[in-house]
């Protein structure tokens, strides 16, 4: 075991960047040489620097806890919500029914051919992400991303077992003792439990949850369910327990895209260097002030670095590693309050405003600008289209495909006939009867193969609840020849009870 004092020095060094430079300070020649020396053993592969984020309390930490509680409770409990749809459909509120190709979401039921709702949802998600980014940067990364939420949860568990930053850091440098083993073991057991629960909740979205829970417990569930729980247990445990900020730094595409989408008016977690610099220890800066020389409010206490879950120094300006969770704001505010300085040395602000303040101009906040208005408008339009299509979603449908070969058939008595594959969709949850009719030629006959023939132009078809029925329809004309080689036809179904209609257009071909 090494002396604690050595390790403490190492701790303070570990997360102190070797190069100290403000965001607007160019790297000068002296720094360059220093960098060369420290980079001599720089390799092509970077070892991970383990991060020990310190716990923190404050506004943004509270927001993050609330968001965590809400999102995780939604995730873990939604499969158990019930929604009565009658006898012919599952009563689970949210269910992805892969074997039957149905997606249920409360009052919405989506068929595979209605996958455009998913497209709309993805567009809405992207636009919301862009809008959040245009307003306040990486809100998604800092508060809502599953990687962030689960990492937060795993870190909270870690602190229970391993203690806070300093304690954990020092223990990691001790030799293995029973105590350390028990703490590490307990942590991993709880992590695995949470990961397992996460995977377990995932599969519940794909089958009747109470039944599946019972089947899983009695080892009756299908192998694929166990396999998916295994996969998600592994990924959750690895990503939230071990990979953490590495996911944000190396794996996630959003920081790259985000950097290209941001503009100067988007709020970012920003170190107000106009107020903070020149930084220095409390005593040194007090002395400078006493001499009437410039001194900043930043006392260089590194609290903002210590609480950072990705280990960046916000004072270097906004960068790829910063997920903008606001925890450094909480940490800095606590220090500023203790010192009797005004809060928000680090705050949601923009570099533009810092420059404006330096020029004694008022700060500008422009949440309403072309970019945000366009995003909002797109969200509004796509949302309105989706609402409209959902509200007017028909519960019946009709598709018609003309025979490709032969295009037409001539019968013994000179009658011309075309064959069609007709599919009737009944999206309602009860059995319905439809009258199938066809129009377009003056002298026309409709026959459905295998169904009791109707009269001349119509046939009665019954389709089961939430099902489709494919049938073969033969359309004939007794006229010697239609007036053109191809005549437009309209197929129509009409619900016998409600009168609801659906139609499909096709053609009648002749010689």
């Amino acid at each position: 075991m090494r002396p604690i004092s050595d390790a403490a020095v190492e701790l303070s060094r570990a997360e102190t960047p070797p190069v100290r430079s403000g965001p607007n300070k160019p790297v000068d020649a002296a720094v360059d040489i220093e960098a060369v020396e420290s980079l001599e053993d720089e390799k092509l592969y970077a070892a991970r620097r383990k991060i020990y984020p310190q716990s923190v309390a404050g506004t943004f930490r509270t927001i993050k806890w609330v968001v965590l509680a809400i999102t995780l409770s939604i995730y873990y409990t939604v499969p158990f919500l019930r929604w009565d749809r009658g006898p012919n459909a599952p009563n689970q509120a949210v269910l992805v029914d892969l074997p039957n190709r149905r997606f249920y979401f409360f009052f919405i039921e989506i068929w595979p051919q209605e996958v455009y709702y998913i497209t709309g949802l993805l567009i809405l998600a992207a636009m919301t992400l862009f809008l959040m980014n245009a307003l306040a940067g990486r809100v998604w990364c800092g508060y809502l991303c599953p990687q962030t939420v689960w990492t937060d949860l795993f870190q909270a568990i870690e602190r229970r077992f391993e203690g806070d930053r300093r304690e954990h850091f020092l223990r990691d440098r001790e030799s293995w003792t029973m105590d350390r083993l028990a703490r590490a073991g307990g942590k991993h057991v709880v992590w695995l439990f949470v990961a397992w629960w996460t995977g377990g909740a995932w599969v519940l979205y794909f089958a009747d949850a109470p039944t599946l829970v019972r089947d899983l417990a009695t080892l009756q569930a299908p192998l694929i369910a166990y396999a998916w729980i295994g996969i998600l247990t592994f990924t959750t445990y690895t990503l939230a327990g071990h990979m953490r900020e590495q996911v944000c730094l190396y794996m996630c595409p959003w920081p790259r895209i985000q950097a290209a989408l941001i503009d100067e008016h988007a709020l970012n977690v920003t170190y107000r260097y106009d107020r903070g610099e020149p930084r220095g220890s409390l005593k040194k800066n007090a002395a400078l002030r006493a001499q009437g020389r410039p001194a900043g409010d930043c006392i260089d206490c590194h609290q903002c670095v210590h609480v950072c879950p990705t280990g960046v120094d916000i004072r270097n300006g906004s960068n790829l590693g910063c997920i903008q969770c606001g925890l450094c704001i909480d940490a800095c505010d606590a220090v500023m309050t203790k010192l009797g300085f005004p809060k928000r040395l680090i705050a949601y602000d923009t570099d533009l405003n810092i420059r404006l303040r330096q020029q004694d101009k008022p700060a500008v906040f422009k949440p309403f600008r072309l970019r945000t208005l366009l995003y909002a408008a797109m969200i509004g339009v796509v949302g309105a289209i989706m609402l409209h299509t959902l509200a007017t979603r028909s519960t019946e449908g009709l598709t018609v495909i003309h025979d490709r070969n032969p295009l037409y058939v001539r019968l013994k008595d000179g009658e011309l006939r075309n064959g069609f594959t007709v599919r009737i969709l009944n999206k309602a949850l009860e059995t319905r009867s439809f009258v199938l009719t066809v129009e377009g030629l003056s002298d026309i006959d409709l026959k459905v193969v295998g169904e009791a023939a109707g009269s001349g132009r119509m046939t009665l078809i019954t389709v089961g609840p939430d099902q489709t029925h494919e049938l073969r329809a033969l359309v004939s004309t007794y006229s010697t020849l239609p007036t053109a080689a191809s005549m437009p036809l309209t197929f129509r179904i009409t619900d016998v009870k409600t009168g609801a209609k659906a139609s499909a257009a096709d053609h009648f071909f002749g010689p």
Binding site: V27, Y45, N405, P406, K412, D413, R472
Partner: protein, 293 residues
């Protein structure tokens, strides 16, 4: 760059790798080390894969892998799974007669789906993908049936064929080669062809002797095709008055038919296809729309 010192890019403050192309230096943005381990892991995975699965070409064969997996076996087991899944419907199909199949919507749909695949595999080569036929191969969509178009007739034709090597096959009367065998002269054949064409309002020779043609028809053709030219299913003699022609409506083709004779063959499928498939095919062909009740 033989120099031991790492050069640092002045603008970004990032070290370079020492690689220079046309005075362009490469910044060193190191990959995370775990990425390297993942790369090694994929190599180890590949080695495991070589051991487990077929991988390496050998002189006359290949390494088969300890799992003894092969794609052929995978297909077979997939098909077995499919058969097991379909077994209940197949056994219902087995137990029902053709009329019962058509009357039962679920069974009818299932039979048509089975029949569609079997038709594409076995029948489409001659009859076309949609059963539209070709010269000498009847169109199965229309309502003209030389050998009968009820479900039973269709199944009989599929099972035992026409003029096929099968004991129960139907042979009827083969159309004789009237010209080649010297039974009719060229002029007589042309005359009787023009007479038959006139029955169908098809154009013939302008000055054709239709009365003579009718006489030749009565003496040579009516025995099979009937006095009214409506044909005979027992003899397999087609109706010559309905405007639908198996070999085409050209005068020259009709003359050729009389000169050289005809005798279309349909193979017998019993033994090649199982009984359930034959039933499904009969129902599918029937559902083209020309089926008789």
């Amino acid at each position: 760059m033989a120099d031991e010192r790492v050069e640092v890019d002045r603008v970004t403050g990032t070290a370079t790798t020492g690689h220079v192309w046309d005075d362009i230096r490469e910044l060193n943005t190191p990959l995370p080390r775990w990425w390297l381990w993942l790369f090694y892991l994929t190599i180890i995975w590949a080695i495991g894969y070589w051991v487990a699965y077929p991988a390496w070409p050998l002189v006359s064969s290949f390494s088969r892998g300890v799992l003894d997996w092969n794609s052929r076996q995978a297909v077979v087991s997939d098909l077995d799974g499919l058969k097991a899944q379909r077994a209940p419907m197949v056994s219902r199909l087995e137990g029902a007669n053709l009329q019962q199949i058509v009357a039962d919507t679920a069974l009818f749909d299932f039979a048509r789906a089975q029949g569609r695949t079997a038709f594409a595999e076995n029948c489409a080569a001659c009859h076309g993908s949609g059963g539209a036929g070709a010269r000498g191969y009847p169109n199965l969509n229309d309502d003209k049936w030389i050998w009968g178009g009820t479900l039973t007739d269709i199944a009989q034709t599929i099972r035992h064929g026409i003029r096929a090597e099968d004991e129960e096959t139907r042979r009827g009367v083969t159309m004789p080669a009237f010209g080649r065998n010297g039974m009719l002269t060229r002029a007589q054949i042309e005359t009787v062809v023009d007479y038959v064409r006139s029955l169908n309002r098809l154009p013939g020779e302008a000055n054709a002797n239709l009365a003579l043609g009718k006489q030749i028809y009565a003496q040579n053709c009516a025995v099979c095709h009937g006095d009214d030219a409506k044909g005979s299913r027992e003899k397999g003699a087609p109706n010559l008055s309905d405007g639908i022609w198996l070999y085409g409506a050209d005068r020259a083709i009709m003359i050729d038919g009389l000169w050289n004779g005809r005798g279309g063959v349909m193979p017998a499928w019993a033994g090649r296809l199982d009984e359930v498939t034959i039933k499904a095919l009969a129902v599918y062909v029937y559902s083209f729309g020309g089926g008789e009740n």
